[in-house]
């Protein structure tokens, strides 16, 4: 496909929802294993089945749910509640940048469709939507459809883990722990548009790794992309001189 990237989404159709569901299929096995692993870990940390399911249904963000387990307790003081909310925010702060990168495409989408659908925004349907838009796609239903499928799978596969405990003895065996990184790396290949991206992405990677070494926590997920975006803007400005 050699279409121009789509400037803005102009439609929300059932066909788009179906297309989103189809595009998300390759990552589903990885997502299901990840969900079962969360369910099992939640059970070991003393969450009830209902609590684990509620977390998957409402928070719906795997990495932050797992990190949240490290702070899980039986006695919830106000300080403990605040701490888990703040940590969740820092783990998921990359979504702020994902939303920002999608925003021009969402400009024409009515708020009644946009704000509820964003509840379903995750790494996987974000990268799927970026690729779809890069190929000229203009149907907002793709973000919704891929998000819905991910949500159902995530919730459904949290349950067996939470009920049965140690389902996955060794998630590394078939490289399951690498499914999402592999998928993301493959998805950015078609997004590469030349030397400008090479430089900007390299800056993002270098700043990210340096931050990861220097600062504990998840700051690298924000510092890296911001540096990459700034580099992209700077290269553009230099090129127009």
């Amino acid at each position: 496909m050699t279409k121009e990237p789509s400037e803005t989404a102009r439609r929300v159709t059932l066909a788009g929802v179906r297309e989103g569901a189809r595009l998300v299929a390759p990552v589903l096995p990885g997502i299901c294993v990840f969900a079962a692993a969360f369910g099992a870990a939640a059970q070991q940390k003393g969450m009830t089945v209902a609590e684990a399911a509620l977390s998957s249904a409402l928070v719906f963000a795997g990495a932050s749910q797992l990190v949240g387990l490290e702070l899980w307790t039986d006695t919830w003081t106000f300080a403990a509640l605040l701490a888990i909310a703040v940590v969740t925010f820092t783990v998921n702060a990359r979504m702020i940048l994902q939303g920002a990168s999608l925003q021009p495409w969402l400009r024409e989408v009515p708020g009644a469709a946009k704000w509820p659908t964003l509840f379903l925004l995750t790494d996987a349907n974000w990268v799927i939507t970026e690729r779809y838009r890069d190929r000229g796609g203009d149907d907002f239903g793709v973000l919704l459809g891929s998000g819905l499928v991910l949500w159902v799978a995530w919730l459904a596969f949290t349950l067996p883990g939470a009920l049965l405990g140690g389902l996955m003895d060794d998630p590394k065996r078939f490289g399951v722990d690498l499914v999402l990184p592999i998928f993301f790396s493959a998805m950015i290949v078609p997004l590469w548009k030349g030397r400008r991206d090479t430089i900007a992405w390299s800056v993002a990677g270098l700043v990210s790794v340096a931050t990861w070494y220097a600062v504990p926590g998840y700051a690298f997920m924000v510092a890296g992309p911001l540096a990459g975006a700034l580099a992209g803007a700077a290269i553009g400005m230099a090129a127009r001189r």
Binding site: I84, P104, K172, S208
Partner: protein, 105 residues
């Protein structure tokens, strides 16, 4: 069994707090950028953002996970370059990852 389906008030509050924090992350960037004029530098920055996010999230993980991860990701990207099919790329990546680990790399 009824125990398994109970939700304690504290746990409920914690999950609601996590939900609110996550939803804030999901909408904040969209909301903020709606108020930023799309000048050319902003467009250039946004254009570089998707790839930068992926590289910034994946690269430290590669450093941590070692050679099998690096080989798997490189193989998947090469497959994507040739075939432009994410399912094939995923299979190639996973095959290389399990192969590299089986060889004890």
């Amino acid at each position: 069994m009824s125990e398994a389906f109970s939700v304690s008030p504290g746990a409920f509050a914690a999950i609601l707090g996590m939900t609110a924090a996550t939803y804030l992350c999901r909408v904040l960037g969209v909301w903020l950028m709606a108020h930023v004029p799309l000048t050319q530098p902003v467009r250039d920055g946004l254009a570089a953002l998707p790839g930068s996010i992926v590289v910034a999230v994946v690269l430290p993980l590669c450093v941590k996970a070692g050679l099998p991860a690096v080989l798997a990701l490189a193989a998947a990207m090469a497959a994507m370059l040739v075939r432009r099919n994410e399912l094939i790329a995923l299979f190639v990546g996973l095959a290389v990852a399990s192969g590299a680990r089986a060889f004890g790399l």
